[in-house]
Symmetry: C2
Subunit: 195 residues, 2 copies
DNA sequence: ACCTGGGCTTGACCTGGGTTAAGGCGGAGG
DNA sequence: CCTCCGCCTTAACCCAGGTCAAGCCCAGGT
């Protein structure tokens, strides 16, 4: 077993026999990415995903008008991939970019489907993953509906303290749905208020 | 089989043996709701959900400050329930209210879990449901990130033409994340522009 | 026919964030 | 050492949307 920690983490979600995990490790490939390197680019087939072993990624979507917005940051132990597009069998509309030199464990969805056919535990895991992603997205929706940009900022750092210092400010802005200028103003406002 | 249409719809998502569906129908209860009646209120245990047979519902969340925002509208064939809270085993934080005299088919999550233990098809269905909900929420997130209120409005009516005339305008505003005043202004702006 | 209330509109005023453009600052490379 | 670049900040101006308040329209009830 090459990744016992990862196995443990997944086994807390769903009963996962070690021999099934061994099969998964057999089809997974490790990949290293330099800072700024893309794990996936828009237009790519959404036919693979990965677990982050080391590093931070951002999922970026560029709107027709050319505005970058950020769907999510992903760090150690989290999944990267164009999940929504994969489910809809569409080509990826997002770029997934390493913000640091990173290291990931890649799965082809095809291989994963083979695992699913072999044992229900994989389907159960996939369900758990879908449910967790849903809960996160709904939380974010709620934030857009009832919080101001400043409140969203505060909440962001409360919920992602491990990203402190690892992501540029402009990306935080693009995650919050505002410009870097607005974010800078919000921060100076807060500095003044509490100085 | 009391609800053959519903069975057909679900069977397109996942292979669903008719005898399993019969078991589901056996535990389901029909319920009628008057206009404005609540299917679920904040604080209720999130231990049941329903399929809408007739009518329209809104999922409302009231923020600590007392601002109502609307998470979703649900019409015929769709599910109602405090899904995120159910997954997290939390009490419901949303009210689900009938906007018309409505008719639903109610399941207790407990009963549904029993079905799941009896046949994998129910787990597969639950996975599909989670995935679809995720895709919808992600789409909405994207809209908040890259569209103006006016563009969100246009998109809303494109995607929900069947709700035309069935939901009050203030609720559309609360869904878009703006006030009814702002929505009214947007509409008059559009009227002028295209008159 | 008259009230009444709910839902929508409109106006006046304010604020937050977008846009554009001009610095500031620190680190990497010459 | 200086320069360049990437990243952040600040300022000036504009506009969308929030807030508060008044008014309109119309359906239902008496």
């Amino acid at each position: 077993m090459r990744f016992p920690k990862l196995f443990e983490r997944l086994a807390t979600l769903v009963p996962l026999p070690p021999e099934e995990w061994a099969k998964a490790e057999a089809v997974a490939k490790e990949q290293s990415l330099a800072k700024r390197e893309l794990f996936m680019r828009p237009g790519d087939a959404a036919d693979r995903f990965a677990v982050v072993l080391q590093g931070v990624f951002r999922g970026v979507r560029v709107s027709p008008r050319g505005v970058e917005s950020i769907k999510a940051f992903r760090a150690e132990g989290e999944l990267i991939g164009a999940y929504a597009e994969m489910l809809q069998r569409l080509p990826s509309m997002t770029a997934i970019e390493a913000l640091e030199p990173s290291h990931v464990l890649v799965f082809q969805t095809q291989d994963f489907q083979k695992l699913e056919r072999g044992h229900v535990c994989w389907e159960r895991l996939a369900r758990r993953v879908a449910e967790q992603h849903f809960v996160l997205k709904e939380r974010r929706e709620q934030e857009f509906l009832e919080l101001s940009a400043e409140e969203r900022l505060v909440k962001f750092w409360e919920e992602h303290p491990h990203l402190k210092g690892r992501i540029p400010q402009r990306d935080v802005a693009a995650y919050l749905g505002i410009t870097e200028v607005a974010l800078s103003r919000i921060m100076s406002r807060r500095r003044k208020r509490t100085e």
